[in-house]
Amino acid sequence: MPSTIELKQETEVKVESIPAHVPIVKIDKLNVYSKGTHILKDVSTVIPKNKITVLLGPSGCGKTTLLKCLNRLTDLYPDLKINGSIKIDGEDIFDAGRDITTIRQKMGLLLQRPYPLPMSIYDNIAYGLKLKGIRKKKIVNAKVEKHLKEVALWDEVKDRLKTSAQRLSIGQQQRLCLARGLAVEPEIILADEPSSALDPISSKVIDEEFLRLKSDYTIILVTHSLRQAKRLGDNIIFMYYGEIVESGPAEQVFENPQSKILQEYLRVGH
Protein backbone atom coordinates (compact mmCIF):
# COMPACT_ATOMS: atom_id res chain seq x y z
CA MET A 1 0.00 0.00 0.00
CA PRO A 2 2.62 2.66 0.90
CA SER A 3 4.03 2.56 -2.60
CA THR A 4 0.72 3.64 -4.10
CA ILE A 5 0.59 6.67 -1.84
CA GLU A 6 4.00 7.79 -2.98
CA LEU A 7 2.95 7.23 -6.54
CA LYS A 8 -0.18 9.23 -5.96
CA GLN A 9 1.71 12.13 -4.48
CA GLU A 10 4.02 12.19 -7.45
CA THR A 11 1.15 12.40 -9.90
CA GLU A 12 -0.39 15.20 -7.89
CA VAL A 13 2.78 17.23 -8.12
CA LYS A 14 2.76 16.65 -11.84
CA VAL A 15 -0.82 17.86 -12.20
CA GLU A 16 -0.09 20.98 -10.19
CA SER A 17 2.46 22.02 -12.78
CA ILE A 18 0.09 21.71 -15.72
CA PRO A 19 -1.21 25.11 -16.78
CA ALA A 20 -4.91 25.62 -16.31
CA HIS A 21 -5.88 25.72 -19.96
CA VAL A 22 -4.55 22.24 -20.60
CA PRO A 23 -7.40 19.74 -20.80
CA ILE A 24 -7.44 17.23 -17.99
CA VAL A 25 -9.85 14.87 -19.73
CA LYS A 26 -9.83 14.13 -23.42
CA ILE A 27 -12.58 11.95 -24.82
CA ASP A 28 -12.14 10.64 -28.33
CA LYS A 29 -14.75 8.86 -30.44
CA LEU A 30 -16.36 7.22 -27.45
CA ASN A 31 -19.12 4.79 -28.36
CA VAL A 32 -21.22 2.81 -25.94
CA TYR A 33 -23.61 0.10 -27.02
CA SER A 34 -25.97 -2.02 -25.03
CA LYS A 35 -27.37 -4.99 -26.87
CA GLY A 36 -29.46 -3.32 -29.59
CA THR A 37 -29.11 0.30 -28.53
CA HIS A 38 -26.39 2.80 -29.26
CA ILE A 39 -26.20 4.81 -26.04
CA LEU A 40 -23.27 7.13 -26.77
CA LYS A 41 -22.46 8.00 -30.36
CA ASP A 42 -18.98 9.16 -31.32
CA VAL A 43 -18.59 11.41 -28.32
CA SER A 44 -15.46 13.54 -28.55
CA THR A 45 -14.69 16.45 -26.27
CA VAL A 46 -12.15 17.94 -23.91
CA ILE A 47 -12.73 18.98 -20.35
CA PRO A 48 -10.55 21.83 -19.09
CA LYS A 49 -8.91 21.92 -15.71
CA ASN A 50 -10.31 23.93 -12.81
CA LYS A 51 -13.54 24.69 -14.56
CA ILE A 52 -17.10 23.53 -14.06
CA THR A 53 -18.16 21.67 -17.15
CA VAL A 54 -21.89 21.08 -17.29
CA LEU A 55 -23.38 18.13 -19.13
CA LEU A 56 -26.80 19.32 -20.14
CA GLY A 57 -29.57 17.46 -21.85
CA PRO A 58 -32.95 15.80 -21.47
CA SER A 59 -33.11 12.63 -19.40
CA GLY A 60 -32.18 9.46 -21.20
CA CYS A 61 -29.68 11.21 -23.48
CA GLY A 62 -26.69 9.44 -21.96
CA LYS A 63 -25.29 11.89 -19.43
CA THR A 64 -25.02 9.37 -16.63
CA THR A 65 -23.51 6.81 -18.95
CA LEU A 66 -20.84 9.28 -20.06
CA LEU A 67 -20.03 10.08 -16.45
CA LYS A 68 -19.76 6.41 -15.55
CA CYS A 69 -17.41 5.82 -18.46
CA LEU A 70 -15.02 8.34 -16.98
CA ASN A 71 -14.30 6.28 -13.88
CA ARG A 72 -15.14 3.01 -15.55
CA LEU A 73 -18.09 2.18 -13.35
CA THR A 74 -19.38 0.88 -16.66
CA ASP A 75 -17.27 -2.20 -15.85
CA LEU A 76 -20.12 -3.19 -13.55
CA TYR A 77 -22.45 -3.68 -16.50
CA PRO A 78 -21.23 -6.52 -18.69
CA ASP A 79 -23.95 -5.68 -21.21
CA LEU A 80 -22.25 -2.45 -22.19
CA LYS A 81 -19.79 -2.52 -25.09
CA ILE A 82 -17.43 0.41 -25.15
CA ASN A 83 -14.93 1.63 -27.69
CA GLY A 84 -13.00 4.83 -28.18
CA SER A 85 -10.60 6.44 -25.76
CA ILE A 86 -10.71 8.55 -22.64
CA LYS A 87 -7.45 10.13 -21.59
CA ILE A 88 -7.03 11.56 -18.14
CA ASP A 89 -3.76 13.40 -17.61
CA GLY A 90 -2.72 11.95 -20.93
CA GLU A 91 -3.23 8.33 -19.91
CA ASP A 92 -5.89 6.20 -21.50
CA ILE A 93 -8.12 4.73 -18.80
CA PHE A 94 -9.13 1.81 -21.00
CA ASP A 95 -5.54 0.63 -21.42
CA ALA A 96 -5.25 -2.88 -20.15
CA GLY A 97 -2.93 -3.05 -17.21
CA ARG A 98 -3.90 0.30 -15.72
CA ASP A 99 -4.87 0.00 -12.11
CA ILE A 100 -8.54 0.84 -12.02
CA THR A 101 -8.58 1.73 -8.32
CA THR A 102 -5.99 4.50 -8.75
CA ILE A 103 -7.88 5.82 -11.77
CA ARG A 104 -11.07 5.93 -9.74
CA GLN A 105 -9.34 7.70 -6.87
CA LYS A 106 -8.58 10.55 -9.24
CA MET A 107 -12.31 11.19 -9.31
CA GLY A 108 -14.81 11.88 -6.59
CA LEU A 109 -18.33 10.73 -7.41
CA LEU A 110 -21.54 12.33 -6.30
CA LEU A 111 -24.78 10.60 -7.22
CA GLN A 112 -28.35 11.70 -7.65
CA ARG A 113 -29.20 10.62 -4.16
CA PRO A 114 -26.72 10.36 -1.31
CA TYR A 115 -25.58 6.85 -0.51
CA PRO A 116 -23.71 7.08 2.78
CA LEU A 117 -21.69 3.98 3.57
CA PRO A 118 -23.27 1.86 6.34
CA MET A 119 -20.94 3.14 9.03
CA SER A 120 -20.34 6.19 11.19
CA ILE A 121 -19.88 9.70 9.85
CA TYR A 122 -16.20 9.50 10.75
CA ASP A 123 -15.71 6.13 9.07
CA ASN A 124 -17.43 7.31 5.91
CA ILE A 125 -14.51 9.63 5.38
CA ALA A 126 -11.85 7.38 6.86
CA TYR A 127 -12.88 4.54 4.53
CA GLY A 128 -11.31 6.03 1.40
CA LEU A 129 -8.23 7.01 3.39
CA LYS A 130 -7.80 3.46 4.64
CA LEU A 131 -8.07 2.17 1.09
CA LYS A 132 -5.16 4.45 0.22
CA GLY A 133 -3.20 3.02 3.12
CA ILE A 134 -3.54 6.03 5.41
CA ARG A 135 -4.17 4.62 8.87
CA LYS A 136 -2.34 6.91 11.29
CA LYS A 137 -5.01 8.11 13.69
CA LYS A 138 -3.66 11.64 13.78
CA ILE A 139 -3.60 12.07 10.03
CA VAL A 140 -7.04 10.49 9.61
CA ASN A 141 -8.51 12.72 12.32
CA ALA A 142 -7.05 15.80 10.70
CA LYS A 143 -8.33 14.85 7.27
CA VAL A 144 -11.81 14.03 8.54
CA GLU A 145 -11.98 17.48 10.10
CA LYS A 146 -10.52 19.22 7.07
CA HIS A 147 -12.91 17.69 4.57
CA LEU A 148 -15.99 18.03 6.74
CA LYS A 149 -15.12 21.71 7.04
CA GLU A 150 -14.60 21.87 3.31
CA VAL A 151 -18.27 20.97 2.78
CA ALA A 152 -19.49 23.08 5.70
CA LEU A 153 -20.62 20.05 7.68
CA TRP A 154 -18.10 20.08 10.52
CA ASP A 155 -20.01 22.32 12.90
CA GLU A 156 -23.19 20.30 12.45
CA VAL A 157 -21.65 16.90 13.14
CA LYS A 158 -18.49 17.40 15.17
CA ASP A 159 -20.18 16.14 18.34
CA ARG A 160 -21.53 12.97 16.79
CA LEU A 161 -18.82 11.77 14.46
CA LYS A 162 -19.19 8.21 15.72
CA THR A 163 -22.91 7.96 15.07
CA SER A 164 -24.42 6.42 11.97
CA ALA A 165 -24.27 8.50 8.81
CA GLN A 166 -27.73 7.20 7.95
CA ARG A 167 -29.23 9.46 10.58
CA LEU A 168 -28.19 12.68 8.90
CA SER A 169 -30.68 14.62 6.81
CA ILE A 170 -30.57 14.05 3.05
CA GLY A 171 -28.83 17.38 2.50
CA GLN A 172 -26.22 16.57 5.14
CA GLN A 173 -25.75 13.10 3.69
CA GLN A 174 -25.07 14.55 0.26
CA ARG A 175 -22.47 16.91 1.68
CA LEU A 176 -20.93 13.98 3.57
CA CYS A 177 -20.74 12.07 0.29
CA LEU A 178 -18.97 15.03 -1.27
CA ALA A 179 -16.55 15.19 1.67
CA ARG A 180 -15.79 11.48 1.48
CA GLY A 181 -15.02 11.89 -2.21
CA LEU A 182 -12.75 14.85 -1.54
CA ALA A 183 -10.91 12.93 1.16
CA VAL A 184 -9.21 10.66 -1.37
CA GLU A 185 -7.84 13.85 -2.95
CA PRO A 186 -9.20 13.52 -6.44
CA GLU A 187 -8.47 15.90 -9.29
CA ILE A 188 -11.93 15.66 -10.73
CA ILE A 189 -15.38 15.70 -9.19
CA LEU A 190 -18.07 13.83 -11.10
CA ALA A 191 -21.51 14.93 -10.01
CA ASP A 192 -24.65 13.36 -11.42
CA GLU A 193 -27.58 15.68 -10.73
CA PRO A 194 -26.32 16.00 -7.17
CA SER A 195 -29.03 18.34 -5.97
CA SER A 196 -32.05 16.80 -7.63
CA ALA A 197 -33.15 15.07 -4.42
CA LEU A 198 -32.31 17.96 -2.15
CA ASP A 199 -34.35 20.77 -0.68
CA PRO A 200 -33.58 24.24 -2.10
CA ILE A 201 -31.36 25.23 0.81
CA SER A 202 -29.16 22.13 0.71
CA SER A 203 -28.94 22.34 -3.05
CA LYS A 204 -27.82 25.95 -2.78
CA VAL A 205 -25.13 24.88 -0.31
CA ILE A 206 -23.92 22.26 -2.80
CA ASP A 207 -23.92 24.83 -5.62
CA GLU A 208 -21.86 27.26 -3.58
CA GLU A 209 -19.55 24.43 -2.63
CA PHE A 210 -18.89 23.73 -6.27
CA LEU A 211 -18.11 27.36 -7.05
CA ARG A 212 -15.60 27.36 -4.22
CA LEU A 213 -14.12 23.97 -5.06
CA LYS A 214 -13.39 24.70 -8.68
CA SER A 215 -10.20 26.52 -7.84
CA ASP A 216 -8.79 23.21 -6.64
CA TYR A 217 -10.75 20.67 -8.64
CA THR A 218 -12.08 20.07 -12.10
CA ILE A 219 -15.82 19.56 -11.86
CA ILE A 220 -18.07 17.72 -14.29
CA LEU A 221 -21.65 18.34 -13.39
CA VAL A 222 -24.63 16.59 -14.90
CA THR A 223 -27.87 18.44 -14.67
CA HIS A 224 -31.08 18.91 -16.53
CA SER A 225 -31.79 22.13 -14.71
CA LEU A 226 -31.07 25.08 -16.97
CA ARG A 227 -30.92 27.36 -14.01
CA GLN A 228 -28.19 25.34 -12.33
CA ALA A 229 -26.30 25.10 -15.60
CA LYS A 230 -26.35 28.86 -16.04
CA ARG A 231 -25.41 29.57 -12.46
CA LEU A 232 -22.47 27.18 -12.31
CA GLY A 233 -21.30 26.29 -15.78
CA ASP A 234 -18.08 27.61 -17.29
CA ASN A 235 -18.39 25.21 -20.14
CA ILE A 236 -21.51 23.56 -21.44
CA ILE A 237 -21.81 20.27 -23.24
CA PHE A 238 -25.28 19.80 -24.62
CA MET A 239 -26.26 16.23 -25.38
CA TYR A 240 -29.21 14.81 -27.21
CA TYR A 241 -29.88 11.11 -27.91
CA GLY A 242 -26.34 10.06 -27.11
CA GLU A 243 -24.63 12.71 -29.16
CA ILE A 244 -22.90 15.95 -28.27
CA VAL A 245 -24.92 18.48 -30.19
CA GLU A 246 -23.14 21.60 -29.05
CA SER A 247 -20.43 22.53 -26.63
CA GLY A 248 -18.39 25.54 -25.64
CA PRO A 249 -18.08 28.33 -23.09
CA ALA A 250 -21.33 28.97 -21.23
CA GLU A 251 -21.98 32.51 -22.52
CA GLN A 252 -21.53 31.42 -26.09
CA VAL A 253 -23.75 28.37 -25.79
CA PHE A 254 -26.52 30.14 -23.97
CA GLU A 255 -26.45 33.46 -25.86
CA ASN A 256 -25.90 32.08 -29.28
CA PRO A 257 -27.13 28.50 -29.62
CA GLN A 258 -26.44 27.10 -33.07
CA SER A 259 -28.64 24.03 -33.25
CA LYS A 260 -32.43 23.93 -33.45
CA ILE A 261 -32.62 21.39 -30.63
CA LEU A 262 -30.68 23.51 -28.18
CA GLN A 263 -32.67 26.62 -29.12
CA GLU A 264 -35.83 24.66 -28.45
CA TYR A 265 -34.42 23.27 -25.19
CA LEU A 266 -33.46 26.73 -23.95
CA ARG A 267 -36.84 28.14 -24.90
CA VAL A 268 -38.83 25.38 -23.20
CA GLY A 269 -36.56 25.42 -20.21
CA HIS A 270 -37.32 29.06 -19.45
Partner: protein, 295 residues
Protein backbone atom coordinates in the same frame (compact mmCIF):
# COMPACT_ATOMS: atom_id res chain seq x y z
CA UNK B 1 -72.37 4.14 -0.66
CA UNK B 2 -69.91 6.10 1.39
CA UNK B 3 -71.26 4.45 4.50
CA UNK B 4 -70.67 0.98 3.14
CA UNK B 5 -67.12 1.88 2.12
CA UNK B 6 -66.44 3.22 5.58
CA UNK B 7 -67.95 0.13 7.09
CA UNK B 8 -65.79 -2.12 4.94
CA UNK B 9 -62.80 -0.06 5.88
CA UNK B 10 -63.39 -0.43 9.59
CA UNK B 11 -64.31 -4.11 9.32
CA UNK B 12 -61.23 -4.92 7.32
CA UNK B 13 -58.94 -3.19 9.78
CA UNK B 14 -60.59 -5.05 12.69
CA UNK B 15 -60.25 -8.28 10.80
CA UNK B 16 -56.55 -7.66 10.29
CA UNK B 17 -56.12 -6.88 13.95
CA UNK B 18 -57.81 -10.16 14.79
CA UNK B 19 -55.42 -12.06 12.52
CA UNK B 20 -52.47 -10.29 14.06
CA UNK B 21 -53.61 -11.08 17.59
CA UNK B 22 -54.07 -14.68 16.60
CA UNK B 23 -50.48 -14.81 15.32
CA UNK B 24 -49.22 -13.20 18.50
CA UNK B 25 -51.24 -15.42 20.80
CA UNK B 26 -50.37 -18.66 19.04
CA UNK B 27 -46.87 -19.09 20.51
CA UNK B 28 -48.26 -18.14 23.91
CA UNK B 29 -51.01 -20.73 23.59
CA UNK B 30 -48.58 -23.41 22.46
CA UNK B 31 -46.16 -22.54 25.25
CA UNK B 32 -48.79 -22.66 27.97
CA UNK B 33 -50.25 -25.87 26.55
CA UNK B 34 -46.85 -27.50 26.78
CA UNK B 35 -46.35 -26.25 30.33
CA UNK B 36 -49.74 -27.62 31.31
CA UNK B 37 -49.01 -31.02 29.80
CA UNK B 38 -45.60 -31.33 31.42
CA UNK B 39 -46.86 -30.31 34.85
CA UNK B 40 -47.18 -33.93 36.13
CA UNK B 41 -43.47 -34.45 35.46
CA UNK B 42 -42.48 -31.11 36.93
CA UNK B 43 -44.34 -31.93 40.14
CA UNK B 44 -42.32 -35.06 40.76
CA UNK B 45 -38.91 -33.91 39.45
CA UNK B 46 -36.89 -30.76 39.96
CA UNK B 47 -36.29 -28.59 36.93
CA UNK B 48 -32.54 -28.74 37.50
CA UNK B 49 -32.56 -32.52 37.51
CA UNK B 50 -34.67 -32.68 34.35
CA UNK B 51 -32.44 -30.33 32.42
CA UNK B 52 -28.96 -31.18 33.62
CA UNK B 53 -29.12 -34.85 34.54
CA UNK B 54 -27.57 -37.29 32.10
CA UNK B 55 -29.61 -40.25 33.27
CA UNK B 56 -32.35 -41.24 30.91
CA UNK B 57 -34.03 -44.30 32.39
CA UNK B 58 -37.76 -43.81 31.94
CA UNK B 59 -38.59 -47.19 33.43
CA UNK B 60 -36.85 -46.08 36.65
CA UNK B 61 -38.66 -42.78 36.46
CA UNK B 62 -35.42 -40.94 35.66
CA UNK B 63 -35.72 -38.30 32.99
CA UNK B 64 -32.46 -36.44 32.36
CA UNK B 65 -32.71 -34.37 29.20
CA UNK B 66 -29.12 -33.16 29.07
CA UNK B 67 -27.97 -35.68 26.40
CA UNK B 68 -30.82 -34.63 24.10
CA UNK B 69 -30.21 -30.94 24.62
CA UNK B 70 -26.48 -31.33 23.95
CA UNK B 71 -27.05 -33.43 20.84
CA UNK B 72 -29.71 -31.12 19.43
CA UNK B 73 -27.65 -27.97 19.87
CA UNK B 74 -24.41 -29.63 18.77
CA UNK B 75 -25.81 -31.10 15.57
CA UNK B 76 -27.51 -27.80 14.72
CA UNK B 77 -24.42 -25.70 15.30
CA UNK B 78 -22.32 -28.17 13.31
CA UNK B 79 -24.83 -28.05 10.46
CA UNK B 80 -24.74 -24.26 10.40
CA UNK B 81 -20.94 -24.24 10.51
CA UNK B 82 -21.07 -26.26 7.32
CA UNK B 83 -23.91 -24.45 5.57
CA UNK B 84 -23.34 -20.80 6.52
CA UNK B 85 -20.04 -20.27 4.68
CA UNK B 86 -21.42 -22.15 1.68
CA UNK B 87 -24.56 -20.05 1.59
CA UNK B 88 -22.76 -16.78 2.21
CA UNK B 89 -20.21 -17.35 -0.53
CA UNK B 90 -22.72 -18.68 -3.05
CA UNK B 91 -25.14 -15.84 -2.44
CA UNK B 92 -22.33 -13.33 -2.91
CA UNK B 93 -21.15 -15.09 -6.04
CA UNK B 94 -24.65 -15.34 -7.48
CA UNK B 95 -25.58 -11.73 -6.85
CA UNK B 96 -22.25 -10.01 -7.46
CA UNK B 97 -20.18 -12.03 -9.89
CA UNK B 98 -22.22 -14.54 -11.83
CA UNK B 99 -23.90 -13.64 -15.11
CA UNK B 100 -27.59 -12.97 -14.62
CA UNK B 101 -28.71 -16.20 -16.26
CA UNK B 102 -26.92 -18.25 -13.61
CA UNK B 103 -29.04 -16.70 -10.89
CA UNK B 104 -32.14 -17.16 -13.02
CA UNK B 105 -31.22 -20.80 -13.45
CA UNK B 106 -30.43 -21.29 -9.77
CA UNK B 107 -33.72 -19.94 -8.44
CA UNK B 108 -35.88 -22.90 -9.48
CA UNK B 109 -33.09 -25.27 -8.46
CA UNK B 110 -33.10 -23.78 -4.99
CA UNK B 111 -36.89 -23.94 -4.84
CA UNK B 112 -36.83 -27.60 -5.80
CA UNK B 113 -34.23 -28.34 -3.14
CA UNK B 114 -36.37 -26.55 -0.59
CA UNK B 115 -39.43 -28.53 -1.63
CA UNK B 116 -37.93 -32.00 -1.25
CA UNK B 117 -39.57 -33.73 1.74
CA UNK B 118 -37.23 -34.27 4.65
CA UNK B 119 -37.76 -38.02 4.60
CA UNK B 120 -36.12 -38.06 1.19
CA UNK B 121 -33.10 -36.24 2.57
CA UNK B 122 -33.15 -38.84 5.35
CA UNK B 123 -33.02 -41.72 2.90
CA UNK B 124 -30.21 -40.02 1.00
CA UNK B 125 -28.37 -39.54 4.29
CA UNK B 126 -28.88 -43.18 5.17
CA UNK B 127 -27.62 -44.46 1.82
CA UNK B 128 -24.82 -41.99 1.15
CA UNK B 129 -23.78 -39.92 4.14
CA UNK B 130 -23.83 -42.57 6.86
CA UNK B 131 -21.47 -44.90 4.94
CA UNK B 132 -19.37 -41.92 3.87
CA UNK B 133 -18.87 -40.84 7.48
CA UNK B 134 -18.32 -44.40 8.73
CA UNK B 135 -15.97 -45.61 6.01
CA UNK B 136 -14.21 -42.50 4.76
CA UNK B 137 -14.36 -39.45 7.01
CA UNK B 138 -14.02 -41.07 10.44
CA UNK B 139 -10.87 -43.05 9.47
CA UNK B 140 -9.34 -39.79 8.28
CA UNK B 141 -9.57 -38.56 11.85
CA UNK B 142 -8.50 -41.99 13.23
CA UNK B 143 -11.92 -42.53 14.74
CA UNK B 144 -14.14 -45.56 14.83
CA UNK B 145 -17.65 -44.81 13.75
CA UNK B 146 -20.62 -46.73 12.48
CA UNK B 147 -21.55 -43.68 10.50
CA UNK B 148 -24.73 -43.05 12.48
CA UNK B 149 -23.37 -39.93 14.05
CA UNK B 150 -23.69 -36.25 14.80
CA UNK B 151 -21.61 -35.53 11.73
CA UNK B 152 -23.96 -37.49 9.47
CA UNK B 153 -26.91 -35.64 11.02
CA UNK B 154 -25.15 -32.33 10.61
CA UNK B 155 -24.29 -32.94 6.96
CA UNK B 156 -27.85 -33.90 6.10
CA UNK B 157 -29.16 -30.96 8.09
CA UNK B 158 -26.68 -28.61 6.41
CA UNK B 159 -27.78 -29.70 2.95
CA UNK B 160 -31.42 -29.28 3.95
CA UNK B 161 -30.87 -25.81 5.34
CA UNK B 162 -28.90 -24.55 2.34
CA UNK B 163 -31.86 -23.68 0.09
CA UNK B 164 -33.65 -22.10 3.01
CA UNK B 165 -30.76 -19.87 4.15
CA UNK B 166 -29.53 -19.23 0.61
CA UNK B 167 -32.90 -17.89 -0.48
CA UNK B 168 -32.94 -15.40 2.36
CA UNK B 169 -29.35 -14.30 1.73
CA UNK B 170 -30.03 -13.80 -1.99
CA UNK B 171 -32.87 -11.50 -1.05
CA UNK B 172 -30.62 -9.58 1.35
CA UNK B 173 -27.91 -9.00 -1.25
CA UNK B 174 -30.38 -8.24 -4.00
CA UNK B 175 -31.81 -5.39 -1.97
CA UNK B 176 -28.50 -3.59 -1.56
CA UNK B 177 -28.57 -0.65 -3.98
CA UNK B 178 -26.05 -0.78 -6.84
CA UNK B 179 -25.19 2.83 -6.14
CA UNK B 180 -23.75 1.91 -2.76
CA UNK B 181 -21.30 -0.35 -4.55
CA UNK B 182 -20.54 2.39 -7.06
CA UNK B 183 -19.83 4.79 -4.19
CA UNK B 184 -17.37 2.39 -2.62
CA UNK B 185 -15.66 1.53 -5.92
CA UNK B 186 -15.34 5.19 -6.79
CA UNK B 187 -13.40 5.70 -3.57
CA UNK B 188 -10.84 3.24 -4.85
CA UNK B 189 -12.07 0.02 -3.28
CA UNK B 190 -11.78 -3.25 -5.14
CA UNK B 191 -14.87 -5.32 -5.66
CA UNK B 192 -13.89 -7.68 -2.87
CA UNK B 193 -13.23 -4.81 -0.44
CA UNK B 194 -16.61 -3.40 -1.35
CA UNK B 195 -18.33 -6.68 -0.62
CA UNK B 196 -16.43 -7.25 2.60
CA UNK B 197 -16.67 -3.79 4.12
CA UNK B 198 -19.86 -2.40 2.61
CA UNK B 199 -22.27 -5.07 1.41
CA UNK B 200 -21.82 -7.44 4.33
CA UNK B 201 -22.19 -4.59 6.75
CA UNK B 202 -25.18 -3.13 4.95
CA UNK B 203 -26.82 -6.54 4.89
CA UNK B 204 -25.71 -7.57 8.37
CA UNK B 205 -29.11 -7.51 10.02
CA UNK B 206 -30.65 -9.48 7.17
CA UNK B 207 -27.76 -11.94 7.19
CA UNK B 208 -28.10 -12.45 10.94
CA UNK B 209 -31.87 -12.98 10.63
CA UNK B 210 -31.20 -15.61 8.00
CA UNK B 211 -28.80 -17.41 10.32
CA UNK B 212 -31.25 -17.15 13.22
CA UNK B 213 -34.14 -18.55 11.21
CA UNK B 214 -31.86 -21.24 9.82
CA UNK B 215 -30.89 -22.20 13.36
CA UNK B 216 -34.48 -22.47 14.54
CA UNK B 217 -35.46 -24.53 11.55
CA UNK B 218 -32.46 -26.85 11.82
CA UNK B 219 -32.99 -27.34 15.55
CA UNK B 220 -36.54 -28.47 14.96
CA UNK B 221 -35.82 -30.75 12.01
CA UNK B 222 -36.89 -34.25 12.95
CA UNK B 223 -37.17 -37.11 10.51
CA UNK B 224 -34.03 -36.71 8.42
CA UNK B 225 -31.80 -36.35 11.46
CA UNK B 226 -33.54 -39.16 13.27
CA UNK B 227 -32.73 -41.50 10.40
CA UNK B 228 -28.97 -40.95 10.46
CA UNK B 229 -27.95 -39.95 13.97
CA UNK B 230 -28.27 -43.33 15.70
CA UNK B 231 -30.76 -42.34 18.40
CA UNK B 232 -28.67 -43.34 21.42
CA UNK B 233 -29.49 -41.31 24.52
CA UNK B 234 -25.93 -40.42 25.48
CA UNK B 235 -23.76 -37.38 25.58
CA UNK B 236 -21.69 -37.69 22.42
CA UNK B 237 -17.95 -37.46 22.99
CA UNK B 238 -17.14 -36.47 19.44
CA UNK B 239 -18.97 -35.68 16.25
CA UNK B 240 -18.48 -39.29 15.19
CA UNK B 241 -20.60 -40.56 18.09
CA UNK B 242 -24.27 -41.27 17.92
CA UNK B 243 -26.77 -39.05 19.68
CA UNK B 244 -30.45 -38.46 20.07
CA UNK B 245 -32.15 -35.15 19.37
CA UNK B 246 -35.13 -33.72 21.21
CA UNK B 247 -37.42 -33.75 18.16
CA UNK B 248 -36.27 -37.30 17.40
CA UNK B 249 -37.09 -38.40 20.93
CA UNK B 250 -40.57 -36.96 20.72
CA UNK B 251 -41.34 -38.33 17.27
CA UNK B 252 -40.05 -41.81 18.07
CA UNK B 253 -41.85 -42.28 21.35
CA UNK B 254 -44.98 -40.23 21.63
CA UNK B 255 -47.93 -42.48 22.33
CA UNK B 256 -45.73 -45.58 22.31
CA UNK B 257 -44.78 -45.89 25.96
CA UNK B 258 -48.15 -46.06 27.62
CA UNK B 259 -46.82 -48.51 30.22
CA UNK B 260 -44.42 -46.00 31.73
CA UNK B 261 -46.12 -43.38 33.85
CA UNK B 262 -45.22 -39.74 33.12
CA UNK B 263 -43.46 -40.71 29.86
CA UNK B 264 -45.88 -38.68 27.77
CA UNK B 265 -45.54 -35.85 30.22
CA UNK B 266 -41.77 -36.10 29.82
CA UNK B 267 -42.06 -35.89 26.04
CA UNK B 268 -44.18 -32.78 26.44
CA UNK B 269 -41.49 -31.37 28.63
CA UNK B 270 -39.01 -32.17 25.85
CA UNK B 271 -41.15 -30.21 23.43
CA UNK B 272 -41.28 -27.37 25.93
CA UNK B 273 -37.48 -27.42 26.15
CA UNK B 274 -37.23 -27.22 22.36
CA UNK B 275 -39.66 -24.34 22.36
CA UNK B 276 -37.73 -22.49 25.06
CA UNK B 277 -34.38 -23.01 23.29
CA UNK B 278 -35.83 -21.59 20.09
CA UNK B 279 -37.24 -18.59 21.92
CA UNK B 280 -33.89 -17.98 23.63
CA UNK B 281 -31.97 -18.28 20.36
CA UNK B 282 -34.37 -15.86 18.71
CA UNK B 283 -33.97 -13.36 21.51
CA UNK B 284 -30.19 -13.62 21.26
CA UNK B 285 -30.28 -13.05 17.50
CA UNK B 286 -32.72 -10.17 17.88
CA UNK B 287 -30.35 -8.59 20.36
CA UNK B 288 -27.33 -9.00 18.06
CA UNK B 289 -29.32 -7.58 15.15
CA UNK B 290 -30.42 -4.66 17.27
CA UNK B 291 -26.80 -4.02 18.22
CA UNK B 292 -25.63 -4.27 14.62
CA UNK B 293 -28.22 -1.75 13.49
CA UNK B 294 -27.02 0.82 15.99
CA UNK B 295 -23.75 1.37 14.14
Amino acid sequence: MILSRKLKDSISSKWMLACLSFCLLLPLAIGSGLVLKSLPLLQSHSLKELIFSEDWFPSDNQFGFWPFIVTSVWVTVLALIISIPLCLLSSIYLTQFAPKWVLKFMRPVIDILAGIPSVVYGVWGLLVIVPLVGDKIAPLFHQDSLGYSLLAGAIVLAVMSIPYILNMLLEVFRQIPVELGEASLSLGATKWETIKHIFIRKGSSGILSAFGLGFSKALGETIAVLMVIGNVPQIPQSMFDSGYTLPGLIANNYGEMMSIPSYDSALMFGALLLFVIIVIINIIFRYIIYKSELI
